[in-house]
């Protein structure tokens, strides 16, 4: 006698086995790891402070020679942008072998800035000469032409920056008459980027900047580790706000280099007990797993044990 097995049952069993097996493998326990806490540096700046900062930046550039160096660093992004544009342009020409309309299309699609149109009419003849593949683009070309006609009036004045890029590409190949105009447009665009508040901000920041402070990252890691060992004495009295600090030196392996040095002498028996409990915790919980990259920061620091506010 044959046992009939429903196919759906078989499928169900197979699927369950698969899923459960995968669960058993993938949900197996992992050792408790302490990922570094991501820290976001936040400066609280009032509106009037911000106004001063802005003002300071402008004056700073004019007066100080240092910012100039920083400007060079800023200039890099501008170059990159130009490079990208040049790269894109050749691609366009290759793929866009077809007639004038295609070339026009791509720029429109990639960069929806209206200004392009002004130049396009001039460029069209050049492209046609390069690679005459009319068949593909005709229908789209019509629609594009319509679009082109519409945009030109708006962009003429406003859209200067994007134009130079395209024009450059074109220039290398063809018209010389237009080059002058293009160059004129490029210069103002460069000035605008260098003049950006962002650039000047970065420069000022590096000039003033202190050493990198990653204490939020390794500090919280240390905190979580030492707190597991900290058996806080039971104060119970709300009026007591104990706070004890130690200066500690750690070796690279996270162990203590020497005995933690308590800050100050506890004034009350409870504070003494509080200090001792913290000291016990620091000793008991070593070695500490802290990011080696920040060793210079955590080799010497001061944990401050206190009550949660």
């Amino acid at each position: 006698m044959k046992i009939k097995v429903d196919k759906t049952v078989m499928a169900s069993v197979a699927l369950h086995v698969l899923v459960l097996g995968w669960v058993m493998l993938s949900f197996s326990t992992k050792a408790l790891e302490m990922p570094p806490e991501e820290s976001v540096a936040v400066d609280v700046v009032s509106s009037d402070q911000l106004a001063k900062v802005m003002a300071g930046m402008k004056t700073g550039k004019k007066e100080n020679p240092k910012p100039l160096v920083e400007k060079v660093a800023e200039a890099k992004p501008v170059d990159d942008a130009v490079g990208k544009i040049t790269e894109k342009a050749p691609v366009v020409t290759e793929t866009a072998a077809p007639p004038q309309p295609k070339i026009e299309e791509k720029p429109v699609e990639k960069k929806p800035d209206p200004p392009k149109v002004v130049e396009k009419p001039k460029e069209e003849p050049k492209q046609v000469e390069k690679k005459p593949d009319p068949p593909k683009v005709d229908p789209i070309g019509d629609t594009l032409k319509k679009e082109e006609k519409k945009p030109p009036p708006k962009p003429v004045q406003a859209a200067k920056p994007p134009e130079p890029q395209k024009q450059r590409i074109v220039e290398r190949h063809f018209d010389q008459n237009q080059i002058a105009a293009l160059l004129d447009k490029r210069d103002p665009s460069r000035q605008a980027t260098t003049g950006d508040t962002l650039n000047s901000n970065a420069a000022l920041g590096t000039a003033k900047g202190a050493a990198a402070d990653n204490s939020a990252t390794w500090g919280s890691m240390f905190q979580r580790q030492v707190e597991r060992c900290w058996k806080k004495p039971y104060g119970g009295i709300e009026s007591q706000k104990p706070e004890v600090a130690f200066a500690i030196r750690l070796k690279r392996d996270g162990t203590l280099e020497g005995a933690p040095v308590p800050e100050g002498v506890p004034a009350t028996p409870f504070l003494r007990v509080y200090q001792e409990s913290a000291l016990r915790a620091i000793i008991e919980c070593q070695p500490y797993k802290l990011p080696a990259a920040f060793y210079e920061e955590w080799k010497y620091f001061a944990p401050v044990f206190k009550e949660k506010v």
């Binding site: 402070d213 905190q223 806080k232 104060g235 000291l279 620091f301 001061a302 944990p303």
Partner: protein, 443 residues
């Protein structure tokens, strides 16, 4: 030409020097401060091996002392004694440092070692050392001499030493509790005054039980008890000396006198006297027997309790309609109501530490024991149920003892609870027990 500085130049020069010095300070490496705010309170793991016997006959007392200390610390809720079976090292000589590593291995943070030795003159010598396992240091060490029958007291005193050294607060183990022992059926309940150690050991009966006794209160400074007794006629307030067993009546007043309590110096007794339908507070000097009236209201003022400095009194009064807690100067005068919660408040008692007033709160069909700050703020209910009443503070103000009657055919028993509301524990008594009052520290 001589080199001269005018005043302005000197000042600017000094300022420049100061700036340089200040600048140097600012550049001196101050370690980065990392706040550690999250630590949780955890009972401290402590190892208490049996005390070493100085002579072969002292083994039993050595075990007993370790057990009493273990029990005390465990009941406090602040320590987690480690089971002796887990101990690795066997302490045989307390005069050398223990093997810290072996204690660290069982996660002990503190270790108590001790030795009991019978002396040639019959006295018992008790020595102990308290070790910090992580810093490998001795935190404290003491030795005591006593007659052998007082070994429990020695154990309590050592417990207090450990408690104080590890928590930063005074202990409370070397103290006693007076309470009303209740036996017999509910209809024919016999109530006797009884005295015991705070851990329930060494129960002694102070009265025979022929008369009903209520509200015993310990003197904060002497080994005396005041209580109320219903004999023939009106209830009277009595004074009882625990050491001598002497008993005397406090004053002779018309009408009922009740809810007596000592002043902090033990020289006066404050109580209520009933006159007609209302009762007022009076204070009586025990030496001169002179009586002073403190309140004069048409309401019921009762359950007075002094602040530990003796400057103020808290009491219960229904002058506002329902019983509430009031505070006034010890000399009488304007009373200020401090309880404003739902329900009624009664039996206020001031903490020996001065920071809290404990009370019984009735409302919503339940009796609760709570504490509040002396200005009435920070009210905290420690326990609540069918019937909880009669709070009394431990000598260090950290623990509140009260009695709980579960209702039904049973009777009341004593409980302790931390002033944080944690660690509620029943206190072992031979029979039913009510109306506890904690003594001051004996030593």
């Amino acid at each position: 030409m001589p080199f001269r500085l005018n005043r302005r130049q000197i000042i600017t020069g000094m300022a420049a020097l100061g700036a340089v010095a200040g600048g140097r300070n600012a550049f001196a490496q101050a370690p980065k401060r990392i706040p550690i705010p999250e630590g949780e309170f955890v009972p401290l793991p402590i190892a208490i091996p049996n005390f070493v016997a100085g002579t072969p006959g002292d083994a039993e007392v050595g075990v007993g002392v370790a057990q009493v200390i273990t029990n005390n610390l465990k009941r406090s809720g602040l320590f987690a004694p480690i089971d002796q079976a887990a101990h690795i090292e066997r302490v045989t000589n307390i005069d050398v440092a223990p093997q810290f590593q072996s204690w660290k291995q069982i996660n002990a943070q503190a270790l108590v070692t001790g030795r009991m030795t019978r002396q040639g003159d019959g006295r018992l010598k008790a020595e102990f050392r308290l070790w910090d396992i992580n810093t490998n240091q001795q935190l404290t060490g003491q030795q005591y001499f006593t007659s052998p029958e007082y070994w429990r007291r020695i154990a309590h005193i050592i417990s207090d030493q450990i408690y104080e050294r590890m928590t930063g607060e005074k202990g409370y183990f070397d103290s006693r509790v007076v309470f009303v022992d209740e036996t017999g059926s509910k209809e024919r309940r016999v109530k006797r005054l009884a005295l015991m150690d705070q851990d329930g050991a060494n129960v002694r009966y102070l009265t025979r039980g022929s008369d009903l006794v209520l509200t015993p209160r310990f003197s904060p400074s002497t080994q005396e008890i005041t209580y109320m007794e219903f004999g023939q006629g009106d209830p009277r307030v009595y004074l009882f000396n625990v050491e001598t067993g002497q008993r005397e009546i406090v004053g002779n007043f018309p009408g009922m006198s009740f809810s007596p309590r000592f002043s902090p110096d033990g020289q006066r007794i404050i109580m209520s006297l009933q006159q007609g339908g209302n009762s007022n507070l009076f204070v009586m000097d025990l030496r001169s027997k002179s009586t002073t009236r403190l309140t004069d209201t048409p309401a019921i003022d009762t359950s007075p309790s002094y602040s530990p400095d003796g400057s103020r009194i808290c009491f219960e009064s229904d002058r506002g309609g329902k019983p509430q807690i009031y505070v006034m100067p010890a000399t009488g005068g304007g009373a200020q109501r401090i309880s404003f919660g739902e329900g009624s408040y009664s039996t206020p008692v001031w903490s020996p530490r001065g920071d809290y007033i404990a009370f019984t709160k009735q409302g919503g069909g339940a009796f609760a024991i709570g504490i509040m700050k002396t200005d009435g703020s920070g009210e905290r209910i420690l326990t609540s149920g069918f019937h909880n009443e009669g709070p009394t503070f431990s000598p260090n103000g950290r623990v509140v003892m009260f009695f709980r009657d579960p209702g039904g055919s049973g009777g009341p028993s004593l409980y302790t609870v931390d002033i944080s509301g944690r660690n509620e524990l029943r206190v072992p008594t031979p029979g039913f027990a009510s109306d506890p009052a904690w003594s001051p520290l004996l030593s």
